[in-house]
Symmetry: C2
Subunit: 434 residues, 2 copies
């Protein structure tokens, strides 16, 4: 597969002559008649992937319940997580082990809780808690991860969309925003195999994010490295370590790095991590000391025993790739066959992660999703990957091919292509009639 690219503008199609619309309607009617029932809504691991970690759940063996330092993992304590698990994931998340905390079962929780903590107690460098600010705003590269945006919406944090470029966010736009507006306190980033565009932030993007002047002294990058090791090709993308870049730029406290094993071992029964500067770790600890006596250390030991070491994680991810890559290849093949050269769709070619982003003519995405739904294909709602659930151009559709089988992916993609062709033809016809 090629490097991830951001969807280019879809060229304006030629006006319809009527015959195309008829044909598109006919093939959609045939599609509906098939009575399909397929779901491409969420980036869930497939049962085949989950099976790869089945041995995990019955670890550790009886009598093997002590951590390397002698800690009884069955009892209270160990606020920051097992040292040996932090060692295993430190190089993968590009955070020194002593500043990488191994905590609960979901990085989403750690991100939510970090935002909530900033609302209730000022982060290092900040003057007051964000709850006392008249206005708090976050930069949101879009399309992005809907659950990031959901946290903002829940707590009244205003979201400012910034477009993606295929190398990460449009840095000119980001730099201007954060430099001029002290209410801009944070920014969501999925820097590697981004959800949903698949792009990897370039070294220049990371350096500019680390170095850019910000009007808010307590501005934070929420660096969700969810797909750090989730490669789809034999040539893993390299990401510049953001904490190092921030430190070199003189902004050591700028980034909070998040990750988890949700899509490595089991979704919901894995381990989540947060890494940061010493000052940020101390700030996080202030909350953790009141919120918990410690994470599930038995589950952490379970993961240590399962992986053995960092290499074990990488070998495990190769097994995931063997399951996932054919599904992503099927998406590319069918979309190319069905929509290639028609001038009505573009799509990303991710080298990792869980999604393909499909761009249809402006104003057509909702209609494609509606048509697909009526034909039995569940797609992520149009706009879901944008702040407030609104895609200003109504053109991006997130495809999540991980869960269905390869055959189902093919079938679903063919169905989606039918819907795209019909929606585009209807639009052309309406334009010709108007």
């Amino acid at each position: 597969m090629e490097e991830a690219v951001s969807p280019a503008s879809v060229p304006e199609a030629a006006p319809d002559d009527g015959a195309g619309l008829e044909a598109a309607r006919k093939e959609y009617a045939e599609l509906r008649a098939q009575g399909l029932s397929l779901d491409l809504t969420r980036g869930k691991p497939s049962p085949e992937q989950l099976d790869l970690s089945n041995d995990l759940h019955s670890l550790p063996a009886a009598g093997d319940l002590r951590a390397a330092d002698g800690t009884d993992t069955r009892n209270y304590g160990g606020l920051l997580g097992l040292a040996e698990l932090r060692e295993i994931f430190a190089p993968l998340l590009q955070v020194p082990a002593n500043r990488l905390l191994a905590l609960g079962n979901a990085s989403l929780t750690l991100m939510h809780d970090a935002v909530v903590q900033a609302l209730l107690s000022a982060p290092p460098g900040g003057g007051r808690r964000w709850a006392d600010e008249e206005r708090v705003r976050f930069v949101c590269p879009s399309p992005g991860y809907d659950r990031h945006f959901g946290i903002c919406e829940r707590y009244g944090i205003e979201m400012i969309s910034v477009p993606l470029t295929g190398q990460g966010p449009d840095m000119d736009a980001v730099e201007e925003l954060v430099a001029s507006d002290p209410t801009v306190k944070g920014m969501w980033c999925v820097p590697k195999y981004a959800n949903p565009t698949g792009e990897v932030y370039s070294d220049e993007t990371v350096r500019r994010l680390a170095a850019m002047p910000t009007a808010a002294p307590d501005f934070r990058l929420f660096w969700d490295n969810a797909y750090a090791v989730h490669h789809l090709t034999g040539e893993p993308a390299e990401l510049l370590p953001v904490l190092d870049a921030c430190e070199e730029a003189g902004n050591p406290d700028r980034a909070l790095v998040f990750g988890s094993t949700s899509k490595i071992t089991a979704a919901g029964s894995g381990v989540a991590f947060v890494g940061a500067s010493a000052a940020n770790v101390a700030w996080l600890k202030e909350r953790l000391l009141k919120q918990t006596i410690g994470p599930d250390k038995v589950n952490q030991l379970r993961h240590v025993r399962f992986f053995g070491g960092t290499d074990g994680v990488l070998a495990h991810m190769e097994r995931h790739r063997a399951v996932l890559a054919p599904r992503f290849a099927a998406v590319q093949e069918v979309l190319e066959e069905e929509l290639g050269g028609l001038g009505i769709a573009e799509w990303t070619r991710p080298a990792g992660g869980y999604f393909v982003s499909l761009s249809v003519p402006d104003g057509c995405a909702s209609e494609v999703v509606r048509l697909a739904k009526e034909a039995g294909i569940a797609l992520t709602p149009a706009g879901a990957a944008f702040p407030y659930g609104k895609d200003p151009r109504d053109r991006e559709i997130r495809l999540a091919p991980s869960y269905p089988s390869v055959d189902e992916v093919r079938e679903a993609m063919r169905a989606v292509a039918v819907c795209v062709r019909l929606a585009a033809a209807e639009q052309r016809a309406a334009a010709a009639a108007g």
Copy 2:
């Protein structure tokens, strides 16, 4: 063992004649010479207790990863926890299963997060989020659980101490406080085998808490039923179900009920629960939907398989009792032998839970803890069980005998008694001299 009693006032001792002080100093010098190293600081399960659940950790068996409704526990979803685990604990926590959520690994986290949620979004019945109130105050029956008070302190919630009576808090004082002051938004309660006094709230106490008029429309009881099934005798105490009492009194949204298996299976690797009215559950869900995609369902299934049912939990608690009861009996025996009838100490006789509360003459608790420390006996810091870490009379000492062996408990209690006798003798001598 008898019913739990609250420490009575310690009678004033007769003035010292000098000989008593000499003897006390001598025996303390002998104690120090022994070079003991014992820890009675925290209510941790002993290794013997943790061993009772060793089979838990390697469950569920391979191929047994589906919940009763077919849910694949290895994947995302199931925000409120596995139905069958909620069914098992519903009768024990006195909450209907459909309003009892099975979530993360610690009830402390659920309590912390509920307080934080109220700070950031008004609970049902409330006009605005607590963070926008000029002042928020909580009623804190004292001595109580230090980590409850830690949450208040962290978020600037003022604590108002209320004494305990042996049947729960002094309800006349509580009723007056909550009726007159709209800034009183909450109250911490450990209603059964309270930490540290061991008392069980009487039916009348529960009814009055449920029915009392409150000036704050969004007043909440944080009902930490941490020791719901942690009996030390063959006659378990009965607690009036608080949610029912609140509903009967016309205040259905008043209580949030918390519990966990931390002291049932493993501390940190268990499952925590929160139960409440439908309106409160809907309010909690508003946060959970943004904070998590779901709890660790494999661990929940592990617990289902381990217990089998509610009876399995009760049978398991009998095994805990067999380990714990001799330790608590040792505390009673040694304190009675060493301090009985001296008029310098009283202590509780809990019928459940994890603590004994020792009352020494006013002004002596810190000195006893200091003397014990220097003799190698770590005790919970004096005052720790009070808001802001300050016991106004400096007289309560929390004893946690669960972790050491029975012999160590005996040894530690004898040592504590030496320290109490010396501190009391020093005080008498000083009074005589003054």
